[in-house]
Symmetry: C2
Subunit: 215 residues, 2 copies
Amino acid sequence: MDNMEQVQLREIAPADIEAASFTIIADELGPCQLPPAGFAVLQRVIHATGDFSFADTIRFSPGAIDAALAAIRDGRDILTDVTMVAAGINKSLLAGWGGSVHCRLGDPAVAELARSTGRTRSEVAIEEGLAAGGVGILAIGNAPTALVRAIRLLAASDPANAPVVIGVPVGFVNAAESKMLLHHSPLQHITSLGRKGGSPVAAAMVNALLRLAAA
Amino acid sequence: MDNMEQVQLREIAPADIEAASFTIIADELGPCQLPPAGFAVLQRVIHATGDFSFADTIRFSPGAIDAALAAIRDGRDILTDVTMVAAGINKSLLAGWGGSVHCRLGDPAVAELARSTGRTRSEVAIEEGLAAGGVGILAIGNAPTALVRAIRLLAASDPANAPVVIGVPVGFVNAAESKMLLHHSPLQHITSLGRKGGSPVAAAMVNALLRLAAA
């Protein structure tokens, strides 16, 4: 127990923790070439991961943030690949504009269709979610297969009117490749190149946009 | 679109993706001093984050894995600090032993108690969840305040019979300190020192244990 007493905790009110964290992140990052809105997105990603390497890998298509803010303010929905991304999104901020968060991954019909066609559940869930319409932002934090399928579907139809794609799958098999594909696509997108990413990164990007939309 | 065609995706069946990822991780990690069960936990953390630095920061108290496996096999519950951790846990594997996953964060009574006492909702949610009993594993992926409160409560009562604590909050204010406190505590624990961590890390650790329990 002696060792426990040597650990010094910072005394801070709960309401002040986020602002203190964001100050530390800005201070340690130093000069950043991103415009303020892009910086706000990056800052929240670093806040969610403790990982400054996202400053080197984050990418925005020109106009991505404006398109995402317009989608939020129009009350359009957010579709996610996995429930962890949906769980991390600030749904009350989104509801203020009339939008809601959807994830089809747990739908038994999706599981059955995936089994019968030999595809991943995530891929089928994204297809079904996009087909239902009303999606302003597609947030993919886990499944490269879902991101690849979404890019091909959306790029082949009407890229200019497609949802903004937040595509940050994590992993070792096709995750980096799927994000490179997104980055080279005609779709409005926010991504992070390389292997890193994940549900908290996707949720942090969405939440930063929700804060910007409300500002 | 020409650039899109230059991106080479690996052709692989959905059922083979996880095994292929785990092979890449083991190959790139190289020799590792962890015993096989600890290595399985680390491997799943790297799989969830794309981040090999967890190999340097992961820590297990002696006996932590055995205690966690016993808790799972006894059908005890898992309490999480945030819904994202709960969302990431393989609940069907846990249900096979009779356990279930709980998170009190969305409980209106918890929010009210946090407001009236000036504490974080996460902290109050953990207190209430522990008081309800039946918890075999406490998985904290987000809130340092919740981890600190849990350590103090559990270390002060009966550490030998306390839940195993998987404590991996992420962030810049007291996250590293809370994990150092856990590491110096008498509690059975799995953690990762430093700022990094998060919901997918906590969920990956739990899921690795659920696979080990089933093996």
